[in-house]
């Protein structure tokens, strides 16, 4: 009896967005009287960090500090339409809509500043700290708080913008399946290192190497959350999870977290993660979607690592100790 060690590989791509029936999201951006900018959405943050992404993209486009941005979501009375959070569409669709809205708001902001400073709007720039200033000058400038107050109470100007991103509907051709369903493809390669106990059939995942190409990581710390949280889910899918353990028989379905098996904090694999960026032409600052794909490559990487370790080829998920022991028995019977 032995602990056998193996390594497995998997490489995948994943579509950003999936054309449902025309896939739009809208955003509105407006300045408060005191120079904060509210991004109004009806988009949903499931924990992946969409609110943060919207704020980062708005701040970048407006040329203002991140702290100036307020994200208001989700209320169907006050937020413009969003299809929803699925299909790795959030960062791409919402990001693009926010950029468009923030660009319009930025133009309005610069025009108001031009009137207040008595210069040409084209000669103005933002410095990222809250000032709108004349290019090449340190004196001719106005802070966004003063500007917003002036716009409201003196100039009678709105500082606001509207944005929409629409992926138009693509009708698949019935005979050939010709279609244009997505906006980009993100990529990943996972290498899994595992041990298999040939006495118990227990698999331990030792190390996951995760390489992702995501266009651009708007927030690398949150991208890492997706990569490593998703890799954990991939391990969980590979080795543990199902609501119907005797599928297609429906009996013995788990009812709670004691019966629905997932790895706990003691089972963690070591993680090494790398991000490569090839900005997507149509992505917000080049970003592609990363939310969904991160559980995908780990599953076959683990299946292939188990084969590498012990010669058992698993073709049914999840890869339970029972299935590995049965596979080992079969190998021995054949030998």
């Amino acid at each position: 009896m032995a602990i056998l060690r193996g390594r497995g590989y998997a490489a995948v791509n994943y579509p950003t967005g999936m054309n449902l029936g025309g896939d739009p999201t809208q955003a509105l951006v407006h300045a408060t009287t005191t120079g904060n900018f509210v991004v109004s959405l009806s988009s949903v943050d499931l924990g992946q960090g969409l609110k943060t992404v919207a704020a980062q993209v708005a701040a970048e486009t407006l040329g203002l500090p991140y702290e100036n941005i307020i994200v208001d979501t989700a209320d169907t009375d006050t937020g413009p339409h969003c299809m929803g959070t699925f299909a790795s569409r959030g960062t791409h669709r919402v990001g693009n809509a926010v950029i468009m809205a923030a660009q319009e708001a930025r133009e309005a902001m610069l025009e108001a500043a031009a009137e207040e400073l008595e210069v040409d709007a084209a000669d103005l720039e933002t410095d990222g700290t809250g000032f709108i200033k004349l290019k090449g000058s340190e004196e001719k400038k106005i802070h966004v708080v003063d500007l917003a107050l002036a716009a409201h109470f003196k100039l009678g100007r709105t500082i606001a913008g509207r944005g929409i991103f629409l992926k138009e509907r693509s009708y698949p051709e019935p005979e050939t399946g010709k279609m244009d369903p997505d906006s980009a493809q993100a990529h990943a390669c996972t290498v899994a290192e595992v041990t298999v106990d040939d006495e118990t059939g227990v698999v331990e995942v030792l190390h996951m190497y995760n390489v992702y190409e995501v266009g651009r990581a708007i927030n690398p710390a949150m991208a890492r959350q997706q990569i490593e949280g998703g890799a954990w889910m991939g391990v969980s899918h590979a080795l543990y999870e199902t609501t119907e353990p005797y599928y297609p028989v429906r009996e013995h379905g788990p009812r709670d977290f004691e019966e629905y098996l997932m790895p706990g904090p003691a089972d963690n694999a070591q993680m090494t993660s790398e991000i490569i960026e090839f900005p997507a032409a149509n992505g917000p600052y080049g970003a592609k979607g990363i939310g969904e794909m991160t559980a995908n490559a780990p599953i076959p990487a683990i299946a292939n690592a188990i084969y590498d370790a012990c010669g058992v080829r698993l073709t049914e998920m999840p890869f339970t100790p029972e299935s590995i022991l049965r596979g080992l028995d079969e190998l021995r019977a054949r030998a």
Binding site: Q225, M233, P265, A266, N268
Partner: protein, 153 residues
């Protein structure tokens, strides 16, 4: 069975209320006292999102009939949050990006606070054991373990 008059201290404040038999501590906190940091993730003691302290011990409040802890000292995440700023553990969760959807976070922090109160210098194994009853579906736990270890001395 008649309802009971419950007198417990919650986050330093003395509370008195009437509870029907079988009312859980979680329900008393959320529905009667309006303290909603503790979450109902499963209601059957398998997820840990409702973790609170009763007399300093981390418990799953969905499993505790409130009439059985009359006179106890209860602490929830609302009570561990300083009036201004954050506790070191809360700050460490921020710094380590240890939250995603946030639903498990209150229970995780309460489980970790109970550990650190008893063992200020926990090992990784201690931390893993302390949060082993708390389910997180987003993070893969590593950032949470790191956040707790970073506060240990």
């Amino acid at each position: 069975m008649p309802s009971s008059v419950i007198e417990i201290t919650v986050n330093g404040s003395e509370e008195e209320f009437i509870a029907k038999p079988g009312t859980t501590l979680l329900s008393a906190l959320r529905d009667t006292l309006g303290l909603t940091a503790a979450k109902r993730g499963c209601g059957v003691g398998t997820c840990g999102t409702c973790t609170c302290h009763v007399d300093g011990e981390a418990v799953m409040s969905c499993l505790v009939p409130v009439e059985t802890i009359n006179g106890s000292d209860v602490k929830t995440l609302e009570g561990t949050t300083p009036p201004e700023g954050l506790s070191p553990l809360q700050q460490s969760f921020l710094d380590n990006f240890a939250t995603q959807c946030g639903f498990c976070t209150p229970g995780m922090i309460m489980a970790a606070e109970a550990l650190l109160a008893q063992n200020p210098s926990p090992t990784r194994e201690d931390v893993v054991t302390a949060i082993s009853g708390n389910v997180c579906r987003c993070t893969g736990y590593e950032s949470i373990i790191e956040a707790i270890l970073a506060v240990g001395k």
